[in-house]
């Protein structure tokens, strides 16, 4: 560190001033580090600690160390398996549909969007709504007796459906609501990616007589790869945490067909008062998310 005239004069001060001068950089970093410790590190360590204990709702009973016991329960808990399966199905189907629709819309509207900028604003509305408002809106749409969807079905002479109450339709109904809300997110990212594509390779390809499909497959998709990777990664991470839509629309039913991991963790922690097991499940989800993200980023060569 350069010793300026001013700092040299401080050095000449009392021991407190000298100590402050020596440790100034740490003192300036301390608030950030403390906040980080309090908000991220401490809860994570506490969750690890909780996950290896059986915690009674009775505050007079001590926490019982169970080691890997809570993690072993994951293997034999049928409700956890159901929730895991539903979460995987939801994530794969919803994110795939959102990606295909988002990319398709972006390709379709790329040329016109500058002239129709209001369209971009309209398409962004679902994404800007709070998830709870989206869930309540779709609950009203799906309502079997008075909902607008069944009213349309009735007017068209089609059989009315229990959209959120039918075992075969409930997950589909949740996916549709999620796709409605999050397709615009993919659309916007893809649109930004398309706007940044270089023009020259396309001109060269056109000169070589490459078809539109060939250009899309060999140029657009590879160029968009980093954007696609980020979009998919963010959506997958978000889909694994799905809660609001399921909580409002179906409560995990009917017949457990829409019970997802976040809902089950919430039930175990707060309704069954078993926070140790809930912490173990949360760590499992965290582990899966980290593994998936790392694998994905490596696959898409983002790691470098």
């Amino acid at each position: 560190m350069l010793q300026t005239g001013k700092s040299a004069s401080v050095r000449r001060g009392g021991p407190l001033e000298q100590w402050t001068e020596r440790h100034l950089r740490y003192l300036m970093l301390a608030p950030t580090v403390l906040i980080l410790l309090a908000l991220t590190i401490f809860p994570s360590v506490y969750m690890f600690y909780a996950a290896v204990h059986r915690i009674s709702p009775n505050p007079d009973l001590p926490w019982e160390f169970v080691g890997a016991g809570n993690f072993a329960r994951l293997i034999s808990d049928p409700q956890f398996h159901v929730a895991l399966r539903n979460t995987v199905v939801f994530t794969i189907v919803a994110v795939t549909l959102e990606f295909l629709l988002g990319l398709g819309l972006a390709l379709l509207l790329d040329r016109f969007i500058r002239r129709l900028s209001f369209l971009k604003t309209v398409l962004m509305i679902p994404m800007m709504l709070p998830p709870i408002a989206v869930a309540i809106t779709w609950k009203l749409i799906y309502e079997p007796q008075f909902g607008v969807l069944n009213e349309i079905m009735f007017l068209l002479g089609l059989p009315v459906q229990a959209w959120a109450g039918d075992v075969n339709l409930a997950m589909f109904s949740i996916i549709v609501a999620d796709v409605w809300q999050w397709t615009p997110f993919i659309f916007l990212l893809m649109l930004a990616g398309l706007a940044s594509l270089p023009v020259e390779p396309y001109e060269a390809a056109a000169l070589d007589g490459a078809s539109s499909w060939r250009q899309f497959w060999d140029l657009t998709l590879p160029f968009l790869k980093p954007v696609i990777a980020i979009a998919l990664l963010l959506r997958v991470m978000d889909a694994l945490r799905l809660f609001d839509l399921v909580f409002i629309l179906t409560g995990g039913g009917p017949a457990d067909r829409t019970k997802v991991l976040s809902l089950y963790i919430y039930q175990v922690a707060y309704r069954f008062a078993d926070p140790g097991y809930a912490a173990a499940m949360s760590l499992f989800v965290l582990f899966v998310t980290i593994v998936l993200s790392t694998w994905f980023m490596k696959r898409m060569r983002l790691a470098e």
Partner: protein, 419 residues
Amino acid sequence: MVRKFCLALAVAASALAISASAWADITILVPSGSEGDGLRAAAADYAKMKNTKVETVQAPYANVFEQGANAGATKSGVFDIVLMDDPWIPFFAENGHLEDLTSYFKGAGVEGPDSDFLSKSLAICRNPYNSGPYVCLPYVGNAQMFFYDAAKFKEAGVEAPKTWDDVLKAAKALTEQGGGRYFGYVFRGGQGNPVVADFMPIFWSYGADMFNAERTKVTIDTPEGAAATKMFMALRDVSPKGVESYNANEVGTAMAAGTAASSINWPNYVATFEDPSQSKMVGKISFSPIPAGTKPGSSEIGHWTMGIMAASKNKQEAFDFMMWATTAEQIKISAERGNPPVRTSVFTDPELTKQEQFRHYPVLMEAIQASTPRPRHPKWPEIENAFGIELSKAVAGTITPEEALKNSQAAVEQITGLK
């Protein structure tokens, strides 16, 4: 000068903090809806009368349990009183979250609550049920009633349904005539609490119960349970498509809109049915206690009760408030605010019973006195969830009713450790 000013400010702030902490504030956790609104209004009256400060924290139904359980587990003392749904009492009491009220009654010079309270309303406030010490006081006298459109039932050849067979007969005829737009029966089929709440009265009406009298054995998968499930499935077949996701609101809406002829529901829906701004069925819905199966019908009791949190720092003040809020005078005011009473004198008060909005009081009092509490177990939320999943599967048709009973038996045995 500045130093002196700062010192004076610090002393003043400390004095204020000390006096604030010594102030006998009471904080009450209440649910959203008429029950919580009623107690919140009472708390405001009390605060004005006593010149004290009573805080009410209002949360949705499920969050009241979560916040109360969290406050109890962490001994935070953030709430002095919790307005609890009665099935939560064993969880709160047996995990040390609630104060035993015995010494407080002694301090007030009484043995316990007076005999004007309905006996069933008092029984649930003792833990163990009807035998242990009082851990709360009843405030809202909920018990399920059977609601039906008497004119429609008459058209279907049933004057006043006395049994579930009567209900099914009328409901079947009305659904067949309804062309997919009108139904004879509607129920809460949503997974978990909703489907369990609407199944239990039928379960009890056929002589079934979740445990034996000694609470040493799980008794779900029995011939009585099978008879009850058979009736429940028959009623499902005459209910609207989509009941698999219905809760009390959807059932109430179907009845108020005149698209369903009968249902089980809570008494606070009487106000909805009689409100022209919310109902097409004003004056047309009749009430009765729960119909009989092979045994007399029995409602599920769903009282809201006030208990003092063990970690409260204002226990005596909390008890004084609870005693005041449950006097006959205050329960009558609560009734006028839309909450069913828990005292005989209020149920039979001519000033109330002559009014149209309270015409269901005789039936409700009968329903409470014939009611049954949900199985009293500290793990009831987990039991209800497991039972609710199997019933939901049966209602959705993914498993047979027999499988639902067998699976429920196994799940409840595993949760409780009983055989």
